[in-house]
């Protein structure tokens, strides 16, 4: 579960029209979140509030043997009006969903951005629309877009009480494509009393570059990501304004012969990037190269994301594959291999959404057939077998789009909970069950070690979050 402040920060990004995913750091975010989701430990209560559109507070109380807590405040110059901050209104996928659809890189390529409706807040568009949050965000975005896009900033501070640990974060936007982040941690036990990390992000849509400097070890780094193919290709970009303006509906309307053909096949975007670090004080460094292919939201088939990262210095090869098999089911696998030490690792992760009440939640429960019928998935309509064999799409059906438009009007939420599980080669299992009860969002997790069946439960935790 994403923390409230994380959620607000994402809202800030979207409100200020910043694509936080267009960076090399997030190259394999989907698989990482599907497999390496954090398990709650102990009991943890969070009380949060978006008091005004500019100001949010959050209080945490945790108990893992000892009681600890934290207080955090957040200020943003961009008014977050309309962001669903109440825990009974927050769209669950925004907090819980792991699979990340690609953001549209169009807006920054083409200055004329038609509708802010592209803001997905990590939601596949067909999911994100389902609650009141999406429309409200849609309304918010223009204000942020026009008002504070170039000078928007965010201040965030968090104090962990028993440890006397202070975290600070400043995000300042200098121009449409330039953003600076400054994060700092202060604690007595740290060397020099704390560390400072500066991050300069330059996002041109087609490519994104980051430079960073850390006071710890004098670490300097640079990383970049370059997008090509799909909507980033010249052909697509030519058609991009139209598709961007049209939003999802552009998928249905053909944009030309080539584009049509592209879309018939697996339609996605390639990204490649690399990172390079050097510690000026400890004279050590590191680097890696990576590539990703991910289907675009407009792809009609099964959304998938595949990444491959290589660390030539350490001989590490890491491949991940994540797929949104159904809209209620995501799967991910990861393989790692080291060509020097011949060590290998694998891990699989899974995410199942349920529309049942948490009490009736069962592993692998299918969505209620009733809702299945009602909410005929508009965009992920299965291609007919014949169409697949012939490597083409079914005949275009304009109706589903209309259905998608209608969906937000549905009063009730589609999903009520999600079950996540992972398994790695050490036979360690992580189980996480998240959902909403009344106005509380809970997260119940446990780690299981199959190698020690006498006491398999290695950890157990419950996270409860309330916000207003």
């Amino acid at each position: 579960m994403r923390e409230f402040m994380h959620y607000i920060t994402n809202a800030f990004y979207s409100a200020s029209d910043w694509n936080e995913d267009n960076t090399y750091k997030e190259l394999n975010a989907t698989a990482r979140e599907l497999i390496d989701f954090p398990l709650p430990l102990g009991l943890r209560l969070s009380l949060s509030s978006l008091a005004t559109p500019h100001f949010a507070t959050s209080y945490h109380l945790g108990s893992v043997g000892i009681v600890d807590g934290s207080i955090s405040y957040l200020y943003t110059s961009v008014p977050l009006r309309g962001v669903a901050a109440r825990s009974d209104r927050i769209p669950l996928p925004a907090l819980l969903r792991s699979y990340r659809e690609l953001h549209d890189i169009g807006p920054r390529l083409a200055d004329t951005r038609g509708g802010p409706g592209l803001f997905p807040l990590h939601l596949p568009s067909w999911l994100g629309r389902s609650t009141a949050a999406a429309p409200s965000l849609v309304n918010t975005a223009p204000a942020g877009d026009r008002g504070g896009k170039n000078k928007s900033q965010l201040l965030y501070g968090r104090l962990y009480l028993p440890q006397s640990l202070l975290e600070g974060l400043v995000i300042k936007r200098f121009s449409r494509s330039l953003q600076v982040q400054l994060s700092a941690v202060s604690q007595q036990s740290l060397r020099n009393g704390g560390t400072l990390l500066g991050l300069v992000q330059y996002d041109k849509g087609k490519y994104g570059i980051e430079g960073l400097a850390s006071s710890d070890g004098g670490l300097l780094g640079i990383r970049g990501l370059y997008n090509f193919g799909g909507d980033a290709s010249p052909l697509a970009s030519a058609a991009n304004p139209q598709s961007a303006a049209g939003g999802e509906s552009s998928g249905g309307s053909s944009t030309g012969q080539t584009g049509e053909r592209e879309r018939e096949r697996i339609y996605g975007r390639f990204s490649a990037g690399g990172e390079l670090y050097y510690g000026t004080l400890n004279k050590s460094g590191g680097m890696s190269l990576g590539a990703r292919f991910a289907t675009l939201p407009t792809h009609r088939g099964t959304p998938l994301t595949a990444t491959l990262t290589i660390n030539p210095l350490m001989g590490n090869i890491n491949a991940t594959y994540a797929v949104l098999a159904k809209d209620y089911c995501s799967l991910a696998t990861r393989m790692e291999f080291n060509v020097y030490s011949y060590e290998s690792e694998w891990a699989v992760g899974m995410e199942l959404w349920s529309n049942r009440r948490p009490a009736g939640f069962l592993l692998g429960a299918l969505p209620n057939p009733e809702t299945e019928i009602v909410a005929t998935r508009p965009r992920i309509k299965e291609r007919s077998f014949q169409a697949k064999m012939e490597w083409r799409l079914d005949d275009p059906e304009p109706e589903p789009e209309a259905g998608a438009e209608a969906r937000p009007s549905e009063g009730k939420e589609k999903y009520l909970g999600v079950f996540k599980a992972r398994l790695d080669q050490n036979l360690r299992i992580g189980l996480l069950w998240e959902g909403r009860i009344k106005s509380l969002i809970f997260s119940l997790g446990s780690g299981v070690d199959l190698h020690r069946l006498d006491e398999p439960f290695r950890s157990l935790g419950l996270d409860v979050q309330y916000s207003s």
């Binding site: 604690q187 560390t195 850390s214 670490l219 780094g221 590191g286 590490n316 890491n318 080291n338 030490s341």
Partner: protein, 538 residues
């Protein structure tokens, strides 16, 4: 006085090495490891080598049945080696991120991916030079402290020797770690082990110690059958039973016993990476303590305090041979004794009119005096406490507490003989009766020590005068050792010293010694003697 110990029996025992490896492995994995070490540290090879360390007794601050305090100088440059295996993280970025707060982490995508490399490190050519303060009390266990940094040099060879940078780094890091280990961790480990080993024997009264006893049994499955009866007997059984038992199988039992003790001590030594010189010393102290009680039972003529001392001294000679190898002591100890006897007699005749015994004692004393002069001459000038300490050091062997106090001043004058005479006179009567009758061997025992002292790296101040050893005792000397164990329990209660005081004294003495050495190192260097023949024999 000096005593020899055989290095090879220590090192030839396969079982000892196995347990030492286990101990080392657990000790190395106990504390949280730095992020660069990603696997358990396994001790795959461990060998103490064939070259024994040089151990020199600089000062004995306190000596009694149940306690011992002394300062030793240890030098070692042998062929011991130790091989460790583990896996290390080769990616510096990975280890860099481990210790940093995640909030300011640069969050590299794959640059921090790990590469673990198996690493084998061999530590060899270890050179040690240290002043060791040993404080032993039956009830408080053994406290061992290095007064200075014991590690002189060390050769680290690893899988990465071909890479200069890595090799230098490992060399530096391991040296630092080893220094920390020896200065901080080792004393604690030894103290814990000593509590486990000795306290159960001595103090059945305390519940804790009983527990420890249980632990000990559990921990040392290797204990030979005789030991187990001894411990319980020490607590519960009457001395008569013990004596009978010891008499019956005295030689065998002794051998078993000494080996066991060796094993324990070796385990102690194993706990530290360096040679085990200190432990043999501890054994001797233990022997005295044990011997003291048993002898005390026998000796009734001398004042209460004296008997214990005299006996301790007498046993002192024996234990050194026992502790390391019974056979050796018997084999070459006897011939040596004969020659030694002659020497001792001659010297005695020359030097003093008193009986052989007294002379023998004096000779030892003389050696003590030498040691002391250097240390005590300066020390004596210092605070009264020091004087008392020195006095106690000198006195413990031959003389009871009362004479001790007088002696220190005399010692300062530099003539031990004078001091001892009065005490010797007191003691002579019993001794004379005993010694004349007893075999020459009784006398020789101390003599052997005397001869050995010059050569032997380990010297004890001869504070211990040869005690009168009854004829019975001599044949059964070996047997007595086991007896003494039970005995000390009763004695210890009476003779307990406050640990704090001991520590304090030890600290002062150590300081003085160190100062002395710094002032005129030449004096100290003179003392380094060639290793005693015993080593070669071994």
């Amino acid at each position: 006085m000096a005593f020899n110990f055989n290095w090879s029996p220590l090192t030839a025992d396969e079982d000892f090495y196995r347990r030492a490896r286990d101990l080392l492995t657990t000790a190395l994995n106990k504390s949280p490891k730095p992020p660069i070490i990603v696997d358990d540290i396994l001790v795959t090879e461990f060998n103490l080598g064939s070259v024994p360390p040089d151990l020199e007794i600089l000062e004995i601050g306190d000596l009694a049945e149940d306690r011992f305090r002394g300062i030793f100088k240890m030098c070692y440059s042998g062929d011991a080696f130790l091989t460790l295996k583990t896996r290390v993280q080769a990616n510096p970025l990975n280890t860099y991120l481990c210790s940093k707060p995640s909030f300011t982490s640069p969050q590299p995508l794959a640059a921090a991916s790990g590469l673990t490399i198996p690493l084998q490190i061999t530590l060899s050519e270890i050179k040690l030079s240290a002043f060791i303060i040993v404080v032993f009390s039956k009830q408080k266990g053994l406290t061992l402290v290095f007064r200075n940094d014991p590690l002189e040099s060390l050769k680290v060879s690893s899988t990465f020797d071909s890479i200069q940078f890595v090799r230098d780094y490992l060399q530096k890091t391991i040296e630092v770690k080893l220094r920390d280990l020896m200065m901080d961790e080792l004393p604690a480990i030894i103290h814990r082990l000593s509590l486990r080993l000795w306290c159960p024997d001595q103090a059945p009264k305390d519940e804790d110690e009983v527990k420890e006893d249980e632990k000990e049994t559990a921990l040392n499955p290797l204990n030979s059958p005789p030991l187990d009866p001894v411990d319980p007997s020490g607590h519960l059984l009457d001395p008569t039973e013990i004596t009978s038992w010891t008499l019956d199988g005295s030689p065998e039992v002794q051998s078993l016993f000494s080996q066991k003790n060796l094993m324990r001590v070796t385990s102690l030594t194993g706990s530290r990476l360096t040679s085990s010189l200190v432990n043999p010393l501890m054994q001797d102290a233990m022997f005295r303590a044990w011997a003291g009680p048993s002898e005390r039972l026998d000796a009734t003529s001398t004042p209460v305090s004296t008997p214990g001392l005299t006996r301790t001294s007498s046993f002192f000679g024996n234990p050194h041979t026992y502790s390391f190898s019974d056979n050796d002591s018997q084999h070459y100890g006897l011939p040596a004794r004969s020659s030694m006897v002659n020497l001792s007699q001659a010297t005695a005749g020359l030097s003093l009119g008193s009986g052989r015994h007294s002379k023998a004692g004096r000779k030892k004393k003389n050696r003590v005096v030498n040691l002391r002069r250097k240390t005590s001459s300066e020390a004596s000038s210092e605070a009264g406490e020091s004087i008392s300490e020195t006095a106690s050091v000198d006195a413990p062997a031959s003389e009871p507490i009362m004479p001790i106090r007088e002696e220190p001043e005399e010692e300062i004058s530099a003539t031990n003989k004078v001091r001892f005479r009065p005490s010797m006179d007191l003691l002579q009567t019993p001794r004379a009766s005993v010694e004349t009758k007893p075999l020459e061997a009784s006398v020789p025992v101390p003599e052997t020590k005397d001869t050995a002292t010059p050569t032997a790296p380990i010297r004890l101040p001869e504070t211990l005068a040869p005690t009168r050893i009854s004829e019975k005792q001599q044949p059964t000397e070996d047997a007595k050792v086991p007896r003494r164990r039970p005995g000390p329990q009763s004695d210890t209660s009476s003779v307990i010293m406050e640990q704090a005081w001991i520590m304090k004294m030890a600290g002062e003495i150590a300081r003085r010694v160190y100062e002395e050495k710094t002032r005129n190192p030449a004096l100290w260097e003179e003392r380094d003697d060639a290793p005693p023949p015993a080593y070669e024999a071994a």
